[in-house]
């Protein structure tokens, strides 16, 4: 028998029981739809998170004081002098720029409005290291540092909250922890973010922050050093140079643990990726269970169908159908049920994830579902495989019927 004939005949017999076929298909549609929606949303979340991580800057290293993994007795804090040493190309040729920051949450106010913001005291090169673009005005300059100027660069969320607008905020004076600061720049929105604080920020000169806004007991202490490597290939070398330089500056004995911690942007990205991978596998697995239930529905219906059509099977055998003919006939029916369900399920999944993404974007989280050919192929092939797998038992039962017994069946 030719393939198109077999498929046509299977469609005909599915069509003879429209309602039953439709209900069986719906089971698969929901299963595949859930798998597709979960996988594409999961990958959307992954893409959005890795996008945010790369928005932080490029080829970055983050240096903090202290060591989480090993016990260190006398921690030497990071200082501005360390930053200066890192910026010396003779000491660390793979380092493009190192920039210090100190910070914390402070209360910002203007007129009657006030809001808690994330304050960062830093220097001019921060903008290039962290990829900060300005919507209006200018970023902090070296002159601001030298003059311990009372100036601030604010993020768009801060402008929204304090002024209720983003235009013409440069030149206004806000108060940060009571200190008046003149706004000299407004940063570009970075969009919704996993960290949530990219736009709710105020940048002030490091010197001004240190003298007026935060108290640090140790002179010249900084919280974080951002190090940008000269290029992507030098990130590892830069990390080594930073380690060696800081160890020697902190006078650590060979064998002693580092009293600082370096994170690379890559390691954060891969950590986030492995977390989201677990999320995707979990979501896909849960959705897969509903596909399994759909498959059991197919098996159920096919068993009913075999019982109902026992006489037909007997007749076909009497007319010369081999075991393989009957097997093919019933397997084709179950595979078609699940394949049709799979294709409709891809559409449902696509629609579902679009809806979820629209709701997410409206509530401020940017998730764009990612559809890959791979996802669609995986779901469709998997659903056809489910149909065949759950069809094998009923089809085999049909094919093994004794012709005489089957013909006598009422």
């Amino acid at each position: 028998m030719n393939i198109s004939g077999v498929i046509f005949e299977a469609l005909e017999s599915l069509n003879a029981n429209k309602m039953r076929s439709a209900l069986t298909i719906i089971g698969v549609v929901i299963g595949v739809g859930a798998v597709i929606a979960m996988l594409s949303l999961g990958e959307g979340v992954q893409a959005s998170i890795s996008g945010q991580i790369s928005d932080i800057g490029s080829n970055l290293l983050f240096v903090f004081s202290g060591n989480e993994d090993e016990e260190v007795r006398n921690v030497t804090p990071l200082k501005e002098a360390d930053v200066a040493a890192l910026n010396d190309p003779f000491n660390a040729p793979s380092v493009q720029t190192a920039v210090a920051s100190i910070g914390g949450r402070v209360e910002a106010s203007y007129g009657g409005e006030s809001s808690s913001v994330s304050m960062t005291g830093t220097t001019a090169s921060y903008a290039s290291v962290r990829d900060i673009e300005l919507e209006e005005g200018e970023f902090l300059t070296d002159d601001h540092q030298l003059g311990v100027a009372s100036v601030a660069v604010i993020g768009p969320d801060v402008a929204d909250k304090l002024f209720g607008r983003r235009d013409g905020v440069v030149g206004e004076t806000i108060r940060l922890a009571g200190q008046p600061l003149r706004v000299i720049g407004l940063t570009e929105a970075k969009g919704g973010s996993a960290t949530g604080s990219e736009d709710n920020v105020v940048f002030v000169p490091l010197a001004s922050a240190r003298t007026r806004l935060v108290s640090r007991s140790i002179v010249g202490e900084v919280d974080t050093i951002y190090v940008q490597a000269v290029d992507a290939d030098s990130v590892t070398a830069a990390s080594q140079e930073v380690t060696e330089l800081l160890r020697s500056r902190h006078r650590l004995q060979p064998g002693a643990a580092d009293d600082f911690t370096i994170f690379s942007q890559d390691s954060i990205a891969s950590m986030a990726e492995s977390i989201t991978n677990v999320l995707i596998i979990f979501l896909g697995g849960v959705a897969g269970i509903s596909l399994l239930v759909g498959g059991i529905g197919i098996m159920n219906i096919m068993l009913v169908s075999v019982t109902e059509r026992t006489r037909e099977i007997g007749l076909r055998k009497a007319l010369g159908a081999r075991k393989s003919h009957i097997l093919t006939q019933f397997l084709t029916e179950s595979a078609l049920l699940s394949l049709i369900g799979g294709l409709l399920g891809v559409l449902l999944g696509w629609g579902l994830s679009k809806v979820v993404s629209i709701i997410a974007i409206q509530s401020g989280t940017d998730i764009t579902p990612v559809f890959t050919i791979g996802t669609v192929l995986l779901a469709t092939l998997f659903s056809a495989a489910v149909g065949i797998f759950f069809g094998i038992y009923p089809a085999n039962r049909a094919a093994s019927l004794e012709p005489v017994e089957a013909l006598r069946h009422e």
Binding site: G5, S13, A318, K323, P403
Partner: protein, 227 residues
């Protein structure tokens, strides 16, 4: 060419029913010539259907030897039996056994599909077969749109379409009124006479068997008399 199409040698069919063994056939031997029209008679439970199923290769005997058109059937596998049924045997059942979803034409093409006949040839041969049983104007009708007699004609067309060595009819008129029954018998007679088809009919009706060349009578699984 061998003129004997069926050789039955001491055929036994027994069923184990718990403790006791039921002998549906207890040693039956006979030959059937090519082109013969033969009827099998006997009381209910005599083993007529059991014999027909074995002769039609639907079932294997538990003992004895059966040669159909030169092939020793007892040694064959399930798939080989299926092929024999497909090529050498045409069945006509008491209850027609047509696929109700499909047209008369599709029902008649079914055996050819398992024989691997091409699409175009299937249609052509099925149409011819339906014309030869007088249903040339009903080929797209479904079984539910046909009378009992017409349905049995479709079944006869289906049985003949692969040019089998024998046509087996187990009480073909049992579900029909006497008029359509007579028409079906006339059709079988003319197929035998005009086309030389070997026909075996199981029947309870003496009027039917009277029209055949030879009558075999079964009783309790053995031949009572062969005319």
């Amino acid at each position: 060419m061998n003129d004997i199409v069926i050789e039955a040698r001491d055929l036994v069919k027994s069923y184990q029913m718990g403790e006791i063994e039921v002998h549906a056939l207890a040693g039956v031997s006979f030959d059937i010539q090519r082109g013969e029209l033969l009827s099998i008679m006997g009381p209910s439970g005599a083993g007529k259907s059991t014999l027909m199923n074995i002769l039609g290769c639907l079932d294997l005997p538990t003992g004895g030897d059966y040669i159909l058109d030169g092939e020793h059937v007892s040694d064959l596998s399930q798939d080989e039996l299926a092929d024999i049924r497909n090529r050498k045997v045409g069945f006509v059942f008491q209850s027609f056994n047509l696929l109700s979803r499909s047209s008369a034409l599709a029902n008649v093409t079914l055996p050819m599909r398992y024989a691997g006949v091409s699409n175009a040839e299937r249609k052509e041969r099925a149409t011819k077969a339906l014309q030869s049983v007088g249903l040339g104007d009903r080929i797209y009708h479904r079984p539910t749109e046909l009378s009992g007699g017409q349905q049995q004609r479709v079944a006869i067309a289906r049985a003949l379409v692969n040019h089998p060595a024998i046509l087996m009819a187990d009480e073909p008129t049992g579900n029909l009124d006497s008029k359509s029954g007579r028409e079906i018998m006339d059709l079988l007679l003319s197929l035998n006479r005009d086309q030389g088809v070997t026909v075996i009919v199981v029947t309870h009706d003496p009027e039917v068997s009277a029209q055949t060349d030879r009558i075999i009578t079964l009783k309790d699984g053995v031949l009572e008399k062969a005319v």
